[in-house]
């Protein structure tokens, strides 16, 4: 028996190897944009993926109801128009009649309804569920109209809907349970092939409602480090690339044939403490850490100064002068005193986790923080992990401290409600909440007057920095590099690559 199987197996193997070698993939068409990035997507379910690398890919394939433009203004996507009821407890969307999924079927209100019901279903474990808890019911009076009935006024809801985590997926795929395995969206590009950690092949969606896509497709190569990406750009193997490492990005302008796009982003580099673990449960300890950290030094060292020290609020219109925030000036005396008061005069040991290459500066940040915190007797052990392993630990809140790059939103509420509200779905990650934070968040959510909202969130920010569950460090830039012949790319503060839909090759 064994012999029979093994012969068959071996024959199969040789045959397959031969086929493989002879019939490799067909050449990419000339007008495809060749692109490279380092960190590949970790999954295809738009409702679940939180990693930047996944979102960057899914933004090209799926569309939410609305999206942000480069100034963070909300513009139409699947929905062509929308309207809040005067009491802000109902919102009505008109869908774009031209909007079609990539299998040719139109995007209907039923798809929208099904998508949001999937999002709200606890079993889905959707990343952005907390942002949509005010949705009481969803109605689809006709194929082009959707009405969301809200349990209470919710102004940030619309910004939350602009996230790819609220993408519209076909109802049929939800029923079939194939959302995570088959990427079928209504976006400008269709995913033809995905070989994780190796490459993606995208082709232009001819029927895209947003207009004509400038290239025939995008061939994305995953290159294992950014030096390789730089080399690929220099030798013109690649037209367009995503750069994460500021060290590499600063080398791009030296090349005559390359263009660097540098956009400030909402995402923030942060040292997350885990206040559910000792001794980070001690406020004085957290504050001591906050005071001991020299944020500018972290920025200068890890990111060669590419960025800006920030507080929790990174979006235009809400940002405060960072220097006014408590402990934003390194104060070792105060930090040491706080440590002593908390009973940790001789320090303690803790482990900090960081992901390999996500962000590119993670390892460096961890090492700078390690050396800074050593000055007040905190001994940090650095544990570097592969991104998906890291995300797993991060989602479970299984860490003492974590170096992270968290995404920002145009609205403070949708940015932080998942972490710092009592019902936030990432409460497990932040492990910190108090009544002040929760009530300020609720107030901000229902407040419609922009000036008042600004005050509310200024208080929120101040309190958050005061209680220091996390140590906000800085915001950096998103970088893309391209050959001179790539035209029309529009970066956004979210770091989205959606602008690739308008790119053309000369």
């Amino acid at each position: 028996m064994g012999r029979h199987f093994s012969t068959k197996f071996i024959t199969g193997l040789t045959l397959a190897a031969a086929l493989c070698a002879s019939a490799l993939s067909a050449p990419a068409s000339a007008a495809s944009l060749k692109m490279a990035w380092k960190q590949d997507a970790t999954g295809l379910d738009p409702h679940k993926q939180t990693a930047f690398s996944s979102i960057r890919l899914l933004e090209l394939i799926y569309e939410p109801l609305v999206r942000f433009d480069k100034d963070l203004q909300i513009v139409p996507a699947v929905a062509s128009s929308w309207e809040f009821a005067p009491d802000a407890k109902q919102i009505t969307f008109k869908l774009d009649p031209k909007a079609k999924f990539q299998d040719g079927k139109p995007v209907t209100s039923a798809d929208v309804k099904a998508s949001f019901e999937r999002l709200l279903d606890e079993k889905t474990a959707a990343a952005a569920r907390a942002n949509f808890l005010s949705i009481a019911s969803i109605e689809a009076p006709d194929p082009q109209a959707v009405i969301f009935k809200l349990s209470q006024p919710d102004v940030p809801l619309l910004t939350a809907m602009a996230s790819i985590n609220a993408a519209i997926v076909p109802a049929a795929e939800i029923t079939a349970g194939t959302v995570g395995t088959k990427a079928l969206g209504s976006g400008p590009f269709k995913l033809d092939k995905w070989e994780p950690n190796s490459k993606e092949t995208l082709s232009a969606n001819k029927d895209w409602a947003g207009g004509k896509v400038g290239v025939d497709g995008i061939d994305i190569s995953v290159l294992p480090d950014e030096t390789a990406i730089l080399a690929a750009l220099r030798t013109k193997q690649v037209d367009f690339a995503l750069i994460n490492d500021p060290l590499v990005a600063t080398l791009i302008p030296n090349e005559k044939s390359l263009v660097l796009n540098r956009t400030p982003v909402l995402a923030y580099h942060v040292l997350q403490l885990n206040p559910s673990r000792k001794p980070m449960d001690n406020l004085a300890v957290r504050q001591a850490i906050s005071c001991a950290v020299d944020r500018q030094d972290v920025l200068d060292t890890a990111s060669v100064g590419e960025g800006k020290v920030t507080g929790p609020l990174t979006m235009p219109g809400y940002t405060a002068d960072a220097s006014t925030l408590p402990c934003y000036k390194k104060d070792l005396t105060k930090a040491k005193k706080l440590m002593a008061d908390a009973g940790f005069g001789s320090g303690f040991s803790a482990t900090v986790i960081a992901a390999n290459g996500e962000p590119a500066t993670a390892a460096a940040e961890a090492q700078v923080l390690q050396s800074q915190l050593a000055e007040i007797g905190i001994k940090l052990d650095i544990k570097m992990m592969e991104l998906n392993v890291y995300v797993d630990a991060w989602l479970k809140g299984d860490f003492d401290m974590a170096v992270a790059l968290n995404g920002g939103r145009a609205d403070p509420y949708s940015m932080y409600n998942r972490y710092f509200t009592k019902t936030g779905n990432l409460q497990k990650v932040s492990n910190y909440i108090d009544d002040t934070l929760d009530s300020l968040m609720q107030k901000g959510r229902v407040e419609t007057d922009p000036a008042k909202r600004k005050t509310i969130f200024a208080d929120f920010e101040k309190h958050l920095v005061e209680v220091s569950p996390w140590i906000w460090l800085y915001t950096s830039y998103s970088y893309t590099a391209q050959q001179k012949n790539v035209q029309g790319f529009q970066p956004t503060p979210e770091g989205s690559l959606f602008g690739l839909s308008k790119v053309s090759l000369n």
């Binding site: 480090d225 950014e226 030096t227 490492d245 060290l247 590499v248 080398l251 030094d297 200068d300 060292t301 890890a302 390999n356 390892a363 460096a364 961890a366 090492q367 700078v368 390690q370 050396s371 052990d381 650095i382 544990k383 570097m384």
Partner: protein, 279 residues
């Protein structure tokens, strides 16, 4: 003494021996922290400083002194290499010796297990072990030790088998010498030469494997310095700060070269073919 003289009168032994001695001194200094600067201290104003009188080999991204880090890295790499080779040689010797002596089932079992271990490329087996046990210096030591145990087993078993058939072992049996006496005084004592050669060469491989593992981020963890890690960190700065690449690269090369040269010399010294012998 005569042994050392033999090494230093052999051309490649002289070079290899000198290199190894110099590295051993550096490694010891590195392990005990006798370095120009604190290898972990970040001199923030002097980040990415080129080689100078103050920082002989420049500083890295964090403003840490590369020379000092290199010294501790060599210490760290040598620690891993020596520990793993010590383990591998002890286990390999015991297994190879007993396999050769007892033969039959035990020999078959041991050698088949070694065949299984040898069916994996060294770095792959090491990676697999690290995947199971998680990265770190101790795992590196264990992984490298496991990878090289089969080699020692084979290196010991072959000569042990041939010594077992030599007439002085027959003679010992005719006297009724105990098994322990024969195994230690006759077999093991005569295996010292091939073992010494093998240990030297294994140290070279082990340094190489350790560097590879830490280059992949699976060996020594930051901020501790290790040669592979320093190289990995230098990648993004190859153009702006080439000294970060060149010094560790040359340091690895020369250390391995030293052990290889020494191993070659030892092989020549121990080789009966090159030794004059009345016949």
């Amino acid at each position: 003494m005569a042994f050392l003289r033999a090494i230093f009168s052999h051309p490649s032994g002289r070079i290899g021996g000198t290199i190894v001695l110099v590295y051993l001194v550096i490694a010891l200094l590195g392990v005990f922290g006798v370095t120009p600067h604190n290898p972990l201290q970040q001199f923030r104003i002097d980040r990415l400083h080129g080689p100078s009188m103050k920082y002989l080999m420049g500083t890295d991204l964090f403003g840490r002194d590369v020379a000092s880090r290199l010294m501790t890295a060599i210490g760290q790499s040598f620690l891993v290499a020596f520990a793993s080779v010590a383990i591998a040689s002890i286990f390999g010797t015991i297994l190879g010796l007993t396999a050769a002596w007892f033969g039959r089932l035990w020999d078959g079992l041991v050698m088949r297990i070694m065949d299984v271990l040898l069916a994996f490329p060294a770095i792959l087996l090491a990676l697999l072990i690290i995947a199971i046990a998680g990265p770190g210096s101790f795992t590196s030591i264990a992984a490298i030790a496991i990878v090289y145990t089969p080699i020692f087993t084979r290196v010991v078993r072959g000569p042990a088998l041939s010594i077992k058939g030599r007439e002085f072992v027959d003679a010992a049996r005719t006297f009724g010498s105990s098994r322990r006496y024969i195994l230690t005084r006759h077999l093991l004592l005569n295996l010292v030469a091939p073992l010494t050669v093998q240990v030297t060469l294994a140290l070279a491989w082990s340094l190489l494997t350790e560097a590879g593992l830490s280059f992949l981020g699976l060996g020594t963890q930051p901020p501790a310095a290790s040669l592979g890690l320093m190289l990995a960190d230098s990648r993004n700065m190859m153009e702006t700060a080439p000294w970060l690449l060149i010094f560790p690269a040359v340091a690895i090369m020369i250390s391995i070269l030293g052990f290889n040269l020494l191993g070659d010399a030892l092989r020549d010294i121990f080789d009966p073919k090159t030794r004059s012998r009345p016949a």
